[in-house]
């Protein structure tokens, strides 16, 4: 084997190691970030979405803070409470929940709906089953929620 062939093979081997390592790191990041699940079913149809949360993390990193804040303000405009005032409390609550472990945090059973908010495997789950056939399943990694709140807060 000539000297130049040996160098090319060595470079290819080094490149392979780098690619494998990069894929490994990316896989670990995707696995660690978790998954966002949205499943809304109504009588007329529904929406189903399953996204790696790492995409949300990337979007949060790329989208300018002003846009994130404006979206948050628009989203909270119709709520009866001053969302900004409660933001530090929500951030503190999410951080503490993350440390507390799995639990069913809230369950409301009424004549027309069953609502459950729980934490399972470091994900915040919201399940709504209404008598009119509406069904909502939302699962968000706590880490993603914290990142979003951090961006809004800053």
């Amino acid at each position: 084997m000539s000297r130049s062939t040996r160098i090319v093979l060595l470079l290819l081997a080094a490149l392979s190691v780098v690619v494998v390592a990069a894929v490994g790191v990316a896989t670990a990041a995707v696995y660690r970030a978790g998954r966002i699940d949205v499943d809304v079913a109504t009588d007329g149809g529904g929406v189903q979405l399953a996204l790696p949360a790492v995409l949300a993390d990337i979007a949060l990193a790329v989208v300018p803070t002003g846009v994130v804040r404006r979206a948050a303000i628009d989203a909270s405009r119709d709520t009866p409470v001053d969302a900004a005032q409660w933001l530090p409390a929500v951030v503190a609550a999410i951080e503490a929940l993350d440390a507390a472990g799995d639990a069913r945090l809230l369950e409301v059973r009424s004549s027309d709906a069953h609502v459950v908010v729980e934490q399972r495997g470091r994900r915040l789950l919201l399940n709504i089953d209404a008598d009119d056939g509406t069904r909502v399943r939302l699962a968000l990694p706590l880490r993603t929620v914290r990142r979003l709140l951090d961006r809004i807060e800053t």
Binding site: A96, A99, E107, S111
Partner: protein, 181 residues
């Protein structure tokens, strides 16, 4: 080299165990309506979460987990009052009987107990450890320190409040279980 490490390790373990007991307590609220279409509500929250949230809340006189009550006390020294209750033997301190209800405030085995029985059948039971009441009162007796009260509350298990009314039953209690058992 190893021997001096053992007491240090034991100390670290003891400190961790102390803080873990506070972090592992859960506050439960259960509301059960009596009507056929009544709501049932379960709330299970880690005390550590409430403790973390309290200092972030700022509303009117409420700041950093505390609120001032000095202006409404009209010269009453709550610290002195509490010391008198703490040092007294178990007894019933206040009993109020009216046409509509009977209310009683007592000290029972280290707990401040409030019982209200209404003629309509509604029943209220409140049972708070005196140590928690002590922690709730700020050092000057003019503030209610909810954060300090909560930290002390984390050392206890059991029922705090129960309300049985014609419309619904409410129960608030603390234990080490994340969910209702």
């Amino acid at each position: 080299m190893r021997r001096p490490m053992i007491p240090l390790l034991l100390l670290a373990l003891a400190l961790t165990a102390g803080s873990a007991s506070a972090a592992d307590r859960w506050l439960h609220v259960h509301v059960q309506g009596h009507d056929a279409d009544a709501e049932e509500v379960h709330v299970n929250l880690p005390l550590s979460m409430i403790e973390a949230v309290l200092p972030t809340l700022e509303q009117h006189a409420f700041e950093a987990g505390q609120f001032r009550i000095g202006d409404e006390l009209d010269g009453i020294d709550l610290r002195e009052l509490l010391a008198a209750v703490r040092d007294a033997p178990d007894a019933e301190f206040v009993t109020v009987r009216s046409a509509s209800e009977t209310a009683r405030v007592a000290k029972e085995a280290g707990f401040l107990v409030v019982h209200v029985d209404e003629k309509s059948g509604d029943r209220v039971r409140v049972r708070i450890p005196l140590e928690v009441v002590d922690a709730l009162l700020g050092p000057d007796g003019q503030t209610i320190d909810l954060s300090a009260g909560l930290r002390r509350l984390a050392e206890f298990d059991g029922d705090l409040v129960s309300v049985e009314s014609n419309d619904e039953n409410v129960r608030i209690w603390i234990d080490t279980f994340a969910e209702i058992r």
